[in-house]
C-alpha cells in the first residue's frame, strides 16, 4: 500500500520545473504568443532531451515506457509553467493510439521519431466528445471528408483523426485535399485549429475498428487536462498568497486580513484533495480498469470546477493588478479555461459519468 510519489517521480517534477523556469517561464509564454512562433523549438528540444517526448512510448520503440501517473505529473508541470509546448496530443494521445491500435509497421515508423522529438502529431477528436458547428469526419474507401475543429497540438507534421464511427486515422499535414485553419482561443500557449478534409487519403490504425481505443484516448486526455489544471491552479494559489504578503493597504499586508486569508484557505481546501484525485485517476488508467472511465470523467469535471474557482479567486486577491496584462496572471486563468472546455465541459462529462454507472435511463 503506497499512494504517493516515488523518489524518481519527485525528481522528474523537479527537473522539469527547473527546465521550464530556466527557459523563461511566463516570459517565454509571452514571447511565444507575441511572435506567433507556432512551435517553440527550444522548449520542444529541451523536453525531448529530458525524455518527455517519449515518456509513454515503450522502450522497445525508443521511449521511456513510463506510467500515466508520470504522464500526469508532466502535464501538471506544464500547466504550472504555462508552457507553450505540444504535449497532451503529441506526446500522450498520439503515441498511445499508435501503441494500442497501430500496425507493427506504423509503430516502427512513428514511435521512435515521436520519442526523439523529431515529429509532432496533432490530435483531432473533439467531435467524439460533442460536435459543434455540424463538424465531423467520415471515412469512405480510405479517404476522409468533413471537418474537425479544436485540434489539439495543431502545429504538427501529421494528424491523428477520429472519424464518426470511432476509427482512427493518420494523415500527413501536407496531404492533398487537407486544409488547415488556425482558431484563436483565449489560451495563446496552446495553438488549436480546424482541419478540412476533401477526399484525403488516410492511413487507418487497424486496431481502432471497434472504437475502444478512441474511448481510451478520451479517458487519458481528460486526466491529462485535469492534471494541467491542477498545476496551473496551484501556481495561481501560490501567487495569490505571495502577493498578499507583500501588498500593503491600511498599513498592513492584505494577507493579514481574514477576508483575504479565507479566500486563500478556500482555494487551498478545494485544491489540495485534487492532487490526490489526479494521482488516483492516473493510477486508475494504469492499474484499475474497472474504475478508469468513471474517475477520468469525474476528475476532469471536478478539476474544471475547482480550477475555475481558484482562477477567479486568485485574480481577485491580486485586485486590479490581477486584471492587468502586466502581472500576466491571465495566462494561467486562460489555460484553466481552455482545459475546462476541451474534451467535454463539466456538465457533459458528468453526464457521461452518470451513464458509466447506468444512472441514465
Amino acid at each position: 500500500m503506497e499512494f504517493g510519489l516515488s523518489q524518481e517521480q519527485v525528481q522528474l517534477v523537479d527537473s522539469l520545473t527547473r527546465f521550464l523556469k530556466d527557459a523563461g517561464g511566463l516570459d517565454r509564454a509571452r514571447k511565444f504568443a507575441a511572435d506567433d512562433e507556432g512551435r517553440a523549438k527550444d522548449l520542444i528540444e529541451g523536453l525531448a532531451q529530458i525524455g518527455i517526448a517519449g515518456l509513454i512510448v515503450p522502450e522497445a520503440h525508443g521511449g521511456v515506457g513510463m506510467s500515466f501517473v508520470d504522464a500526469a505529473l508532466v502535464a501538471e508541470c506544464l500547466g504550472h509553467g504555462v508552457a507553450p509546448v505540444p504535449y497532451i496530443g503529441a506526446s500522450v494521445l498520439a503515441p498511445l493510439a499508435l501503441e494500442l491500435a497501430g500496425s507493427d509497421a506504423q509503430k516502427s515508423a512513428w514511435l521512435p521519431r515521436i520519442a526523439a522529438g523529431e515529429v509532432s502529431i496533432g490530435v483531432a477528436l473533439a467531435e467524439s466528445t460533442g460536435a459543434r458547428e455540424g463538424a465531423g469526419v467520415d471515412c469512405k474507401d480510405g479517404k476522409l471528408s468533413g471537418r474537425s475543429l479544436f485540434v489539439i497540438d495543431f502545429e504538427a507534421d501529421a494528424y491523428l483523426v477520429a472519424d464518426r464511427s470511432g476509427r482512427l486515422h493518420l494523415v500527413a499535414a501536407d496531404a492533398a485535399g487537407l486544409s488547415r485553419k488556425p482558431l484563436k482561443t483565449v489560451d495563446t500557449t496552446r495553438p488549436t485549429g480546424e482541419l478540412s478534409f476533401e477526399g484525403v487519403k488516410a492511413e487507418l490504425l487497424p486496431g481502432s475498428e471497434d472504437g475502444r481505443v478512441l474511448r481510451r484516448l478520451i479517458d487519458v486526455g481528460r486526466v491529462m487536462l485535469a492534471a494541467d489544471t491542477l498545476g496551473a491552479a496551484q501556481n495561481m494559489l501560490d501567487q495569490a498568497v505571495a502577493y498578499s504578503l507583500t501588498r500593503e493597504q491600511f498599513g498592513r499586508p492584505i494577507g493579514s486580513f481574514q477576508a483575504v486569508k479565507h479566500m486563500c484557505a478556500e482555494m487551498a481546501a478545494s485544491l489540495e484533495p485534487c492532487r490526490a484525485f489526479v494521482w488516483y485517476a492516473a493510477h486508475a488508467l494504469d492499474a484499475l480498469p474497472a474504475e478508469a472511465t468513471l474517475t477520468a470523467c469525474h476528475v476532469k469535471a471536478h478539476l474544471a470546477e475547482v480550477g475555475t474557482f481558484v482562477a477567479r479567486t486568485s485574480t481577485e486577491v491580486h485586485g486590479g493588478m490581477g486584471f492587468t496584462d502586466l502581472v500576466g496572471l491571465h495566462y494561467w486563468f486562460k489555460r484553466i479555461g481552455f482545459n475546462r472546455q476541451m474534451l467535454g465541459s463539466p456538465e457533459s462529462v458528468r453526464e457521461e459519468a452518470a451513464r458509466a454507472q447506468q444512472l441514465v435511463a
Binding site: G4, L245, K261, A269, H302, R350
Partner: protein, 395 residues
C-alpha cells in the same frame, strides 16, 4: 503507486471478515451505549483486538503494535458488514489517548480499563459561554484549598453530561498567568456535590448537549492531568485527534450510495428524480467531490504509514468533510421535496427522517470542534504561512 495490501494484511482482512461472519449476531443493534449486549460485545472486541487494539494490555487494551493498515482494515470490514465496531464517545476517543500520553501511572491504571470496557462514561468540559472559538479564554476557576481544588463556573455544549459518570474539564488555576498558561486539566466524578446539569436541546430537537454548572465543587488535588498550568497543552493534543476523526470515508461512501438510491426511488409525477438531468448533475457533482476526498484520505493513510507529514492535505479534512456531508444530505431532501420535510412519527416518512437529521446535525459539526472559519484561519496561517489578524486595541 500500489494500492494492494501485503499477504499479511490480506490474511488479516480474511480473519476479520471471518470473525464478523461468525459473531455478527451477538452485536448490539444501535440503542443505548450501556446495554448489557453492548458491554458484552465491547469486551469481545477488545479480547479479539478489534477495539482498543493498540492500548497496552496492562491498561485493559489488546496490546498490539500500532499498524495503521490493520486498523483501517478493521474499520472497513465492520463498515461493510454494518456491524457495531464497539463503543465510542469522548472517554474512549479523547481521554484515553490523552492519559496514555500525559497521565500519571496511577491515573492510567485507575481510569483506562473501565473506560475502554464502557463501565466508565465521560463527558468533556471545555467550551464555555464566553470561550467558544477562543477556548483559551475560559473562566471556570479552580482554587486550591488544602488538598482539594474548589471548582466554580459553567460549561456549555457538553455532550452526554447527563449520562456521564465523570468529566475531564479545563479550568483556570493560574489567574495571573497569560491565558494559555493558566489552565489545568482536571478529572472528577459527575456525582460530586455542587454540579448541576441542564439539557440544551439542539435544532434536531434532540438532547445532544447540556449546560453544566459548578458551585463549590471539591476535587482531590491529585486528579489533575499534567502539571498546573499545562492544561492547554494536554487539551490541544486531543483536539487534533477530534478534528481528524470527523470525516470517516467509509461513512461518506455509504451515505453517497444511500443518496443514489433515494434519487432512483423517489418520483415526481410518476417520473424518477434521477431521470431529471438537473438532479442527476447535482448528484454527479457530489460524487466527484466525495471521490476527491477519498483519494485525499488514501494519501493521508499512505503518509501516516510512511511517517510523512501530510501538511495541508490533513488540515482541510474537517472543513471539507463536514461541508460536503451537509450538502450531500441536503440533496436527498431536495430530491424528496415536500416529503423531505417530514420529521418525527408521521405518515410517508422516509428513512426514519435521517436525511433531515443528518443535514442539521452536520451543520452542528460545521460549527463544533473548531468552526469552518477557524479552520480557514488554521489553513491560511499554518498551511499557507499567512499572518495572524492583528489584535484590536481595547477602547
Amino acid at each position: 503507486m500500489d494500492l494492494s495490501y501485503s499477504k499479511e494484511h490480506e490474511s488479516f482482512r480474511r480473519e476479520v471478515a471471518e470473525f464478523l461472519r461468525s459473531h455478527a449476531k451477538e452485536a448490539p443493534k444501535g440503542g443505548a451505549q450501556r446495554s448489557p449486549e453492548a458491554l458484552k460485545w465491547q469486551r469481545l472486541l477488545i479480547e479479539k483486538g478489534y477495539a482498543a487494539r493498540t492500548i497496552p494490555k496492562e491498561y485493559g487494551g489488546f496490546g498490539a503494535e500500532p499498524d495503521i493498515l490493520k486498523s483501517r482494515i478493521i474499520a472497513e470490514e465492520f463498515a461493510k458488514a454494518q456491524v457495531s465496531s464497539g463503543l465510542g464517545g469522548q472517554g474512549i476517543s479523547m481521554l484515553v489517548p490523552t492519559l496514555l500520553e500525559m497521565g500519571s501511572e496511577a491515573q492510567k491504571r485507575e481510569f483506562i480499563a473501565p473506560t475502554l470496557r464502557g463501565e466508565l462514561v465521560w463527558c468533556q468540559g471545555y467550551s464555555e459561554p464566553g470561550a467558544g472559538s477562543d477556548l483559551a479564554n475560559l473562566r471556570t476557576s479552580a482554587v486550591l484549598d488544602g488538598d482539594e481544588w474548589v471548582v466554580n463556573g459553567q460549561k456549555i455544549w457538553t455532550s452526554t453530561a447527563h449520562l456521564a459518570d465523570w468529566i475531564f474539564c479545563l479550568v483556570r488555576t493560574e489567574p495571573d498567568a497569560p491565558k494559555h498558561q493558566g489552565i489545568s486539566f482536571l478529572l472528577f466524578s459527575m456525582k460530586t456535590p455542587g454540579i448541576e446539569v441542564r439539557p440544551l436541546i439542539d435544532m434536531t430537537m434532540n438532547r445532544n448537549f447540556n449546560e453544566v454548572f459548578f458551585t463549590d465543587v471539591w476535587v482531590p488535588k491529585q486528579q489533575i492531568v499534567g502539571a498546573r498550568g499545562e492544561g492547554w497543552k494536554v487539551a490541544n493534543s486531543i483536539l487534533r485527534h477530534e478534528r481528524g476523526s470527523l470525516a470517516d470515508p467509509n461513512i461518506m461512501s455509504s451515505r453517497l450510495n444511500a443518496l443514489i438510491e433515494v434519487l432512483k426511488r423517489e418520483t415526481v409525477d410518476g417520473r424518477r428524480v434521477i431521470d431529471n438531468p438537473v438532479f442527476r448533475d447535482r448528484l454527479m457533482q457530489i460524487q466527484g467531490r466525495v471521490m476527491a476526498m477519498q483519494a485525499n484520505d488514501l494519501r493521508l493513510l499512505s503518509a501516516q504509514v510512511n511517517q510523512q507529514n501530510p501538511g495541508i492535505a490533513a488540515m482541510i479534512v474537517k472543513l471539507q468533510g463536514t461541508e460536503l456531508r451537509h450538502e450531500l444530505e441536503q440533496l436527498a431532501i431536495d430530491a424528496m421535496g415536500e416529503l423531505g420535510l417530514l420529521y418525527g412519527d408521521t405518515p410517508y416518512l422516509r428513512d426514519q427522517g435521517s436525511w433531515q437529521h443528518q443535514y442539521m446535525f452536520f451543520l452542528g459539526l460545521i460549527i463544533g470542534g473548531g468552526t469552518s472559519q477557524i479552520q480557514k484561519n488554521i489553513i491560511s496561517e499554518r498551511g499557507l504561512g499567512m499572518p495572524r489578524e492583528p489584535k484590536v486595541a481595547k477602547a
